[in-house]
């Protein structure tokens, strides 16, 4: 039985359709992330699950029960908001216990629940403070504590980390992941940050214009994106999209990429095991080759022809050392492509360098409609 099931949900505001036939189901204990650019409908979907906004059509089931027309209070869910939304006139203790109080849980049980979540989130020393006396990270913990106290069937997180500074955000991210592993709770989590999505999710739903473009594990959406939007949205630095053309035929397809200047074009053999039916109709037509920055590597002269991938030369325009690795911009096929190399690389901007490209994880898209070809 699914913990949450959304069936053909649509939502319109006047003439604009914000959600277009959304369907998805998640299992108990699963961590689902809704991710997408602003205006994609992810927050509207979240509010629909929470019952804060009625849907125009479709059904929402929680724990096997149809809750489409139930109020937020009747849905057995808890939510952590972006602005934390703590009650300013109440202490931390009262904030955490408020939901239980509204559900007429006896005082002794409420106190127990407060103790439990305070221990869990290490906020015991803050219980008698008012929200205004807390730092951003502490408020965040209290907001999570308020949700955890009730032990609902589903937790909803609406961009919970986006108001924190970068360092704290990474810490809280790890903490949320630990919490999920420890408690095995079912979580739906909205974010626009694809790194949060990759690191936290069991499954990711990438949304755009009211559609779910792809629903899959982080590995699937990263390495096997459904279309060019997903490929470009997931991953940082973003995937490189190179204009190319397809040559050859079944068993020996080649992708031809024009390089800068008088250089011979780069002809890359397409791996046989990644061939698809769709390729045949694209021969001789423009396609878009998707290569992630880590699909490139620096030519190692000692390996010579033993090295994997196709060798090519390019001029670097920008070098960005990040510490853990070095990012290069090189000119390829009329665009700047990003290349990720090891931290020990001694390359300077303007250098002519030799690189190798690994086609085994490359993806190919139709230039026309941005759909995935192979």
């Amino acid at each position: 039985m699914s913990a949450l099931e959304i069936r053909n949900v649509r939502k319109t505001f006047g003439d604009t359709e914000v959600l277009k036939e959304i369907s998805l189901a998640i299992d108990s204990g699963e961590f689902l992330i809704l991710v997408g650019p602003s205006g994609c409908g992810k927050s509207t979907l979240m509010n629909a699950i929470a019952g804060l906004e009625p849907v125009t059509a479709g059904e929402i089931h929680i724990g096997g029960e149809d809750v489409t027309w139930r109020t937020p209070a009747e849905r057995d869910i808890a939510m952590v908001f972006q602005s934390y939304a703590l009650y300013p006139s109440m202490t931390v203790r009262q904030n955490i216990a408020f939901g239980l109080e509204m559900r007429k849980v006896p005082k002794a049980e409420r106190d127990q629940a407060v103790e439990r979540v305070a221990d869990l989130l290490q906020i015991s020393q803050l219980l008698d403070r008012k929200p205004s006396q807390l730092s951003g990270g502490q408020r965040q913990r209290v907001a999570m504590g308020r949700a955890l106290a009730r032990e609902p069937q589903i937790y909803l997180f609406d961009e919970p980390l986006s108001n924190l500074d970068a360092k704290l955000r990474v810490e809280m991210r790890t903490e949320i992941k630990k919490l999920h592993q420890r408690l095995g709770t079912t979580i739906v989590y909205v974010t626009h940050d694809q790194i949060e999505a990759m690191t936290l999710a069991d499954r990711i739903a990438i949304m755009r214009d009211g559609h779910i473009l792809q629903l899959g594990t982080p590995d699937e959406v990263y390495n096997d994106p459904a279309d060019m939007f997903v490929a470009g949205f997931m991953g940082s630095p973003a995937m490189n999209f190179l204009s190319a053309s397809l040559e050859g035929g079944p068993g020996e397809y080649r992708v031809r990429v024009e390089t800068e200047g008088a250089q011979a074009p780069l002809v890359l053999p397409w791996p046989v095991e990644r061939e698809t039916e769709a390729l045949a109709s694209q021969v001789g037509r423009p396609v878009t080759l998707g290569l992630r920055p880590e699909h490139f590597s620096e030519e190692d002269e000692r390996l010579g022809d033993q090295a994997e991938g196709t060798r090519f030369e390019a001029t670097t325009t920008v070098v960005e050392p990040t510490g853990a690795d070095t990012l290069l911009q090189v000119r390829l096929s009329g665009v700047e492509a990003t290349v990720r190399l090891g931290p020990k690389s001694r390359i300077k901007a303007g250098d002519r360098i030799a690189l190798r490209v690994d086609m085994s994880r490359a993806v190919l898209f139709s230039t026309e409609d941005e759909s995935r070809l192979a």
Binding site: P72, I77, S83, A85, P88, F98, M102
Partner: protein
Amino acid sequence: MDNVIRRRTPRARLLRAGLYALLIAAALVYLLPLVVMVLTSVKPIEEIRAGALLSLPSHFTLDPWIKAWSSACTGMRCDGLSGYFVNSIKIVVPAVAISTLVGAINGYALTKWRFRGSELVFAMLLFGCFVPFQVVLMPMARTLGWLGLASSVSGLVLVHVVYGIAFTTLFFRNYYVAVPDEMINAAKLDGAGFFRIFWRILLPVSGPIITVSVIWQFTQIWNDFLFGVAFAGFDSQPVTVALNNMVNTSTGVKEYNVDMAAAMIAALPTLVVYVLAGKYFVRGLTAGSVKG
């Protein structure tokens, strides 16, 4: 300490002295009527008749105040302002409380439970702020008669509540619009309903705007004359109407000292409210404009 850097040349100092002199003179002009009132109200009538308007009293007396309070004549009756003062309190306290509470609930509903047409409702309420008193006199008189509340304290309370709701709704609506919706959503998820959210979440953070509403309504209703004179019965006249009757009583000698004392008595409560809560009044009016 002021934190302005200014020139310290003789010419600049002279200009500054001139500026202060002008300001002090203006302040005196505004203060003078009050000074005259206070001085006159503690002088025996003989001294006033002698023509010394601004001089300090040679015989200090509180008799005019006592007379104004308990035995001055207002029309036919001669038992001072005290009864009417009590009338005013009986009108003001419920009218302020009810109009503030209704305004708060209106503002809450209009911002946190938006419904189809809620903007229109608000626009119409706002329009109510600009309806002149005189326009509603006749229809209100009919309504009060029809409700059986004509010439009663309850009737006046109703009139002031109806008239005040436009203002109090405006105050609370503008205050609550700045309260994040997420807070209300969180309370909904926690299982609180319309009134529970209002009492437990919103009202505890409404201190500044409640102060604004109370001061505004108190001043308006206490100082009201037109509704009082139009709708009050003999026994329900507010102090402003009684003051007018007392000053305009044409029998006997004109007792300026008693009139002045009566005017001071009628004006005192609004002054007291403002002095006690004025700080919060300003704070409430500017709340939300600056973060903090």
